[in-house]
């Protein structure tokens, strides 16, 4: 009985850590611009797919991983330069729509430039499951979990302590005032895309050995990550992590104890409940606007 519960928990934590990483990516761009970047899932896909293809080209895994992250970051920067920046004055909603277009575009390019098949990636440190009190977890799941913890902490430090992180927050809050006190808001926006592309690609690479990767793997991950970000409070680092874990664990428990038929519905039920009853999420501050 306990072993069963523990297995559901471990499964949920693995998947939840992945959602958390994607949610962190949403948070960064949101913090810099109040834009929700729906191409976040595609960064995840690009990380995993590029690694697989670079390895197929004969590169050793560490080199392929680093290159794949670089490729994704460059694409993230290009996305900002070529699609977001020219429309900077357009307001938040048009920018969000641009990111939806960008996600479709990136999927299409990946489909043509790479291929449409599923690919497996070897795990970082072996395939032998680790036994914990009758439940099992793969070593790769620990990598995902560790990756999320490290990234989450770095980001927390970045936004709470580092000067540039604070400049990002200032830009999101009031771009004009931020410019007046000398923040380079263009650079901030550019960096936010680079940074969340980096996060996305890391998530994609950590996940690929567990879930496989393909050109359209980003759609579902992006949506679930979005749910996690909303649940945790958009723009809140720790919130993204906690939100991801809650969504992941709720899914696993739901599949285990209620019915696996509704597994995918659980994340979306959570998002509806959150939007109805606490639109700022678990950690989000209540914002009031002065008129």
């Amino acid at each position: 009985m306990f072993a069963e519960f523990l297995q559901f928990l471990l499964s949920g934590v693995t998947v939840g850590a992945a959602y958390g990483l994607v949610a962190l990516g949403f948070s960064i761009i949101y913090n810099a611009s109040h834009v929700i970047n729906f191409a976040q899932g595609e960064f995840v896909m690009l990380g995993g797919m590029s690694t697989v293809f670079l390895m197929a080209a004969g590169l050793p895994m560490p080199v392929a991983v680093v290159l794949a992250v670089l490729v994704t970051v460059v694409l993230g920067l290009l996305l900002e330069k070529l699609a977001i920046e020219p429309a900077r004055g357009a307001g938040v909603v048009p920018l969000i729509i641009i990111t939806i277009g960008a996600s479709i575009f990136l999927r299409g390019v990946a489909q043509v430039a790479m291929d449409r098949e599923f690919h497996a990636m070897p795990p970082f440190t072996g395939d032998a499951p680790i036994m914990i009190a009758g439940a099992t977890i793969l070593p790769q799941s620990l990598w995902v979990f560790g990756g999320m913890a490290v990234m989450g902490m770095l980001l927390w430090y970045f936004f709470a302590r580092a000067r540039f992180g604070k400049a990002m927050l200032a830009t999101a809050y009031n771009p004009l005032a931020a410019r007046l006190i000398g923040v380079n808001t263009r650079l901030v926006l550019l960096c936010s895309f680079g940074l969340s592309a980096l996060l996305g690609s890391v998530a994609g690479i950590l996940l690929a050995p567990i879930t496989f990767t393909s050109y359209d793997v980003g759609i579902m991950l992006g949506l679930k990550g979005f749910c996690a970000a909303i649940l945790g409070g958009m723009g809140h680092g720790a919130g993204a992590v906690v939100g991801g874990l809650i969504v992941g664990i709720a899914e696993a428990m739901g599949a285990g104890y209620i019915s696996s038929e509704y597994k995918d519905a659980i994340a979306f039920i959570i998002i509806l409940l959150v939007l109805f009853f606490m639109p700022n999420g678990l950690f989000g501050k209540r914002t009031t606007e002065r008129v």
Partner: protein, 387 residues
């Protein structure tokens, strides 16, 4: 206002008349035999449509090089419909009304097939589907045929093997896509006939990335001896990996939906010992020399692998069989008259294809028996023949 309207209508009518007179759409009947197809070349079912289209292209080229059929060249008209029923409906309308094809091969999936059957039946044009589910041909539709084994046959083959090994208490974990859903229903209906009881029945979504919760439930169901996983795509590969991760200690059976090298590649070492029913094509080299299918499957396998440089899958084989059934029916009918061709397809008897030996009849638009399936086991990363 009215005059303007009349003028415009006249103009449209004139253009239409001119188009008719000069025969713009559709080539004259005496020139080529037009074979229409609409497959899932992109999207989640691309592993079906991609080898199917490659197979059709390759064989139509070589048939044309040898002079065609009835002295006429073959022409392939293709639309990619992904796995979308709406796209399939548009494609079938274009094939029938604009392209005026003589016979249709495809589509790849059960969903797209079922969506287009009413249009095909109304237009009266022979269609040979490459999709799996039994609902396509049962009840029989006048104009619709298919080449792949049905999910019902797969269930029977698997249950037969389980019985032989003494497994009577099993669990199922099924994909919720069209294929998994259909096969799950067929297997549950058939289990009692084999004295098998399905004690755990779980499902997973087509894009799920982790099935350990479902498998944990199955693991904790007392007394199970085997698990059956109907589904296709990456889902079964994840199930297989999770199955080994949890150390389930039972036998795992997959369906013919994973009968391609990709499955072994994705699941890796976890696939060792997995059993599944599949067409003889996968084990072409292991067939006995006196096996009637040997020549056909080895020939197709060699031709495909030489031309495309990738491993053969049973799905391309379904397209090969579909094309052969169609052109031999056209040859026997001596024309592309749709009713005659349809009747000849229905009379197909003793055709030896990649999927098995086909004997069609007015009540059986598939014509394969259970012997067409072979039970395979994965050993050292290769398919091996069990019986």
């Amino acid at each position: 206002m009215t005059r303007h309207f009349i003028k415009r209508t006249l103009a449209i009518l004139l253009t239409a008349a001119a188009a008719l007179a000069f025969g713009a759409p559709g080539a004259p009947a005496s020139e080529t035999i037009r074979i229409g197809t609409f497959l899932s070349v992109t999207g989640p079912a691309s592993f079906l449509g991609d080898p199917e289209l490659k197979t059709l292209r390759m064989y139509i080229e070589s048939i044309n090089k040898d002079g065609g059929v009835l002295g006429r060249k073959l022409e392939l008209v293709h639309y990619d419909v992904q796995h979308l029923a709406d796209k399939a409906k548009t494609a079938i309308k274009r094939l029938i009304e604009d392209d005026k094809v003589d016979v249709i091969i495809g589509p790849s999936t059960t969903g797209t097939t079922m969506a287009t059957i009413p249009l095909v039946e109304r237009a009266g044009i022979p269609m040979i589907s490459l999709a799996g589910a039994v609902v396509i041909i049962n009840p029989v539709k006048k104009w619709v045929f298919k080449t792949p084994h049905t999910d019902r046959m797969a269930c029977a083959k698997i249950f037969g093997d389980m019985k032989k090994r003494g497994f009577t208490r099993i669990g199922m974990i099924s994909g919720t896509g069209g294929f998994g859903k259909s096969m799950r229903g067929q297997c549950k209906g058939l289990a009692a006939d084999f004295g098998i009881s399905v004690l755990a029945d779980e499902t997973y979504g087509p894009k799920d990335s982790d099935m350990t919760p479902q498998l944990t439930k199955i693991k904790n169901t007392k007394g199970l001896q085997a698990v059956l996983n109907p589904g296709f795509g990456q889902g079964p590969a994840i199930v297989t990996k999770n199955f080994r991760q949890l150390g389930m200690g039972m036998s795992l059976y997959q369906s013919h939906g994973v009968a391609s090298k990709k499955y072994i590649e994705l699941a890796g070492a976890a696939a060792e010992g997995v059993r599944l029913p599949a067409a003889a094509l996968l084990v072409a080299d292991q067939l006995a020399d006196n096996d009637p299918q040997k020549v056909v499957v080895v020939g197709y396998k060699k031709a495909f692998e030489k031309r495309w440089g990738s491993a053969v899958s049973t799905f391309g084989g379904h397209a090969y069989d579909g094309l052969q059934l169609a052109i031999s029916a056209i040859a026997r009918a001596g024309s592309t008259d749709k009713e005659k061709v349809r009747a000849e397809i229905e009379k197909t008897s003793g055709y030896i294809g990649t999927g098995g030996i086909v004997h069609m009849s007015p009540d059986d638009h598939l014509g394969l028996s259970l012997s067409a399936f072979r039970m395979l086991e994965i050993k050292n990363g290769e398919w091996t023949l069990v019986d």
